[in-house]
């Protein structure tokens, strides 16, 4: 199995979720993170002091999938989350040794 981790722009989250759902992804784990990269942050001013905010908000999605599905899922995310503008994010794939579903104790493929 593989762990697909996608870091995307927040306003693309709904689209990506929908596309993955259509594809048949049954579960994922999502969190709010901050990204640092080419995309520049912004400047805020408080009583005459200017602050450069280097980080931009991103959504991180983690999905454990069967080996065979990994590349399809990467493709779906890339296609759906793409705006063509800097800061669209990254998707990476990591090998997973094993997975368990806590509720039932099901292992590996059966746990997804």
């Amino acid at each position: 199995m593989k762990l697909v981790t996608a870091v995307i722009k927040p306003h693309k989250w709904e689209d990506v979720r929908e596309a993955l759902e259509t594809f048949g992804v049954a579960g994922m784990t999502v969190s709010e993170v901050s990204g640092y990269g080419r995309q520049k942050g912004h400047t805020e001013v408080y009583r005459g002091a200017e602050y450069d905010i280097a980080l931009v908000p991103k959504i991180r999605i983690e999905i454990v999938v069967e080996d065979a599905d990994a590349s399809d899922i990467v493709d779906i995310v890339v296609k759906t989350a793409q705006t063509g503008r800097i800061g669209d994010g990254k998707v990476w794939v990591i090998p997973v040794d094993s997975v368990v579903r806590v509720r039932t104790g099901d292992k590996d493929e059966a746990a997804l």
Binding site: H42, G48, A49, E50, D52, I53, A54, L55
Partner: protein, 439 residues
């Protein structure tokens, strides 16, 4: 005027100012999303700033004075800059100023998340000048919607109109303006599709509570002492009228909370806190014109009905597709109409239900309609001017990113680490301080 009445007016004026900053700013700010809370509050704060200035310049003069123009407004230059106004009448200026401020600020609920701040700043003086000052003159300054000769009621031959504290001038006016602006501006991105939910309901509830508190100044402070009475008579009027208005205001708001909660319970199975807070405001809006004319039990009935009606009315925007973001229409326009019209039914002196016929009812409906028309046309003109000059709506990216940062360069919150041990370490890198500061 006795010192006691004056002391009450001082505190009443202070209370009404407080209704805008911070009460309304909180009520609206909490209902917006966290990316636009500051912009929402800024629309209230800037309203105090800008209206505070223009009211002194020409607002008072356009509303009250001796130089009426066609029963529609007063000569703006008669007491421009308050020249010639002095002594105790300055507090009347102050009291009326706070009404102009909150009326303008109320409108901001309809345009949340997408109006350019510069457009708001330009909108304010124009709208006050074309819509608010004339309506204040017409209703309270002896103009077309008062009991003046050749006024609307006079022309209709019906009873003198009643608007104790601003059902038409404030609530119907703000509600219509909100509706017109919401339509012209268009819907927020994602309206009706994506979730656009309140980001901080406790803020909204503080706001509702403080609005209620301030509303005592608004309603009870709106008493007009009958100067034809002798001192004892004036005292008696002050004592009994303010007591009745205070109680009616309270009872109607309380009953509207219950009315709103009951509708929610029936429709959704649950009474919500946003519903309770909204019920407070709806009840207060409805009792505003009516607070001097009803019995406490009449106010109770008005409250229940208004709470229920407004709870239904806030759904209208989804049906008709205008995006009145924070329900200026559903609460202020509908509540204001209910209260204004209910006077024709429930007034202990003149109401249809008290066997006094339809004369008052006719007047109230006519006044409400005329006020709506005036407000709609005036707002339309102002909105088109502002649109032509600097544009109304922020661009799409700004709207998604949030108006707070784009329009004000700030963000509402920085709580830092998620453990509850706020730090604010993350998220920023360097501070550059503008050099050359200092006078």
């Amino acid at each position: 005027m006795e010192t006691g009445m004056h002391a009450w007016t001082l505190i009443a004026a202070s209370l009404v100012l407080m209704m805008t900053t911070p009460a309304l700013a909180l009520f609206y700010g909490g209902m917006s999303r966290s990316k636009s809370v500051l912009n929402m509050m800024m629309m209230s704060f800037s309203a105090v700033g800008i209206v505070g200035i223009i009211y002194v310049l020409w607002g008072w003069s356009m509303s009250y004075g001796e130089q009426d123009v066609a029963l529609l407004f007063n000569n703006p230059f008669e007491t421009f800059g308050l020249q010639g106004v002095g002594g105790a009448s300055l507090i009347a200026v102050g009291f009326q100023m706070t009404f102009a401020i909150i009326t303008a600020a109320l409108i901001s609920g309809a345009v949340a998340d997408r109006l350019k701040f510069s457009a708001w700043v330009l909108f304010l003086p124009l709208w006050l000048t074309l819509s608010y000052f004339p309506l204040a003159h017409m209703v309270w300054g002896g103009g077309f919607l008062s009991d003046a000769t050749n006024g609307l009621a006079d022309l209709l031959g019906s009873a003198a109109p009643i608007d104790y504290a601003g059902g038409t001038v404030v609530h119907i006016n703000a509600g219509v303006a909100g509706l017109v602006l919401a339509i012209i501006l268009g819907k927020r991105l994602g309206f009706g599709k994506e979730p656009i939910k309140p980001h901080n309901l406790p803020l909204t509830m503080i706001g509702a509570g403080l609005l209620w508190f301030g509303w005592y100044g608004f309603n009870v402070g709106s008493i007009v002492i009958d100067t034809e009475l002798d001192a004892a008579g004036q005292t008696a009027q002050f004592l009994s009228e303010t007591s009745l208005v205070w109680l009616n205001t309270t009872v109607c708001a309380a009953a509207a909370v219950v009315g709103w909660m009951v509708v929610e319970k029936i429709r959704h199975g649950k009474a919500t806190s946003l519903g309770a807070a909204s019920g407070v405001v709806a009840g207060l809006v409805a009792i505003t014109p009516a607070c001097g004319s009803l019995s406490p039990v009449g106010s109770l009935a008005l409250g229940v009905v208004t709470g229920a009606l407004c709870a239904l009315a806030v759904g209208l925007k989804y049906k008709f597709g205008y995006d009145d973001a924070l329900d200026v229409v559903g609460v202020h326009l509908v509540g204001g109409l209910v209260g204004t019209v209910a006077i024709g039914l429930l007034a202990t002196d003149g109401g249809l239900f008290y066997g006094d016929g339809v004369s008052l009812f006719v007047t109230q409906v006519a006044v409400a309609l005329f006020a709506m028309l005036w407000s709609a046309v005036a707002t339309l003109i102002v909105a088109l001017i502002v649109k032509a000059v600097i544009g109304l709506r922020v661009d799409e990216e700004t709207e998604i990113e949030g108006v707070d940062f784009a329009e004000h360069g700030e963000t509402g919150y920085d709580f830092g680490a998620s453990t509850g041990r706020g730090r604010g370490t993350l998220g920023t890198t360097s501070t550059k301080v503008k050099e050359g500061a200092g006078a």
